[in-house]
Assembly symmetry: C2
Homo-oligomer: 125 residues x 2
């Protein structure tokens, strides 16, 4: 019994070879605090539906390329280094507008669940 | 009042120019579910202390380079695509063992706070 668990995704650009261009970490790492997807999608990729969440806030962080996240009908242009928080109730979808790969991470965790963070939650040991 | 908030970090490799080579998203995005740091640290970088958490699970995702995360005294080698969950009570530190930059993301969220995820929490709209 250890206090950590690891998984190896391989090179992030190679995730584009997977059916949906994504891999999830929750089950692989037995997470209890959040779900994380790591995504590498090809030119022309668009999630073909809008969705919202019941409880969970989502945070998208763009690692490579350019795209558009549409939130409640508003198109938000994103590129490497863009980070976007989306509240649970908002409608959202994401598309790749690059000429090549579009890489991003999406974290979902329960809205209002974080009680403390940073120095409040950490202690030296 | 919108259901989303954005911030721009710029190119992730350029975060190495910041004092600690990192930027946090919680305050910039007014997150309520987690804290996320995005890190780009130079050759030779090592966090000079061990720490643990009171409530929060941490997940490290390595984007570039190679390093070592030491958990409860065990050295875990990591590289691009490695993902590591660390439970709150474990002692941890991280170092760059690459010849160049080491890029990673660290998510912290409250252990056992996630009630549902994936299709259980999402609905088409």
């Amino acid at each position: 019994m250890t206090n950590y668990k690891t998984t190896e995704l391989g090179k992030i650009e190679d995730l584009v070879k997977l059916e949906n261009g994504k891999i999830f970490l929750h089950d692989a790492l037995e997470l209890s605090s959040c779900e994380i997807s790591v995504n590498s999608v090809p030119k022309g990729f668009k999630v073909p539906f809008n969705h919202r969440h019941k409880q969970n806030e989502e945070i998208y962080l763009i690692l490579k390329g350019e795209g558009v996240i549409t939130v409640d009908g508003t198109a938000v242009k994103v590129k490497e280094g863009s980070a976007v928080k989306i509240l649970p109730d908002a409608s959202r979808t994401i598309e790749n507008t690059s000429d090549g790969e579009f890489q991003f991470i999406c974290v979902q965790a329960k809205a209002n669940s974080l009680e403390q963070y940073g120095l409040s939650d950490a202690e030296l040991c």
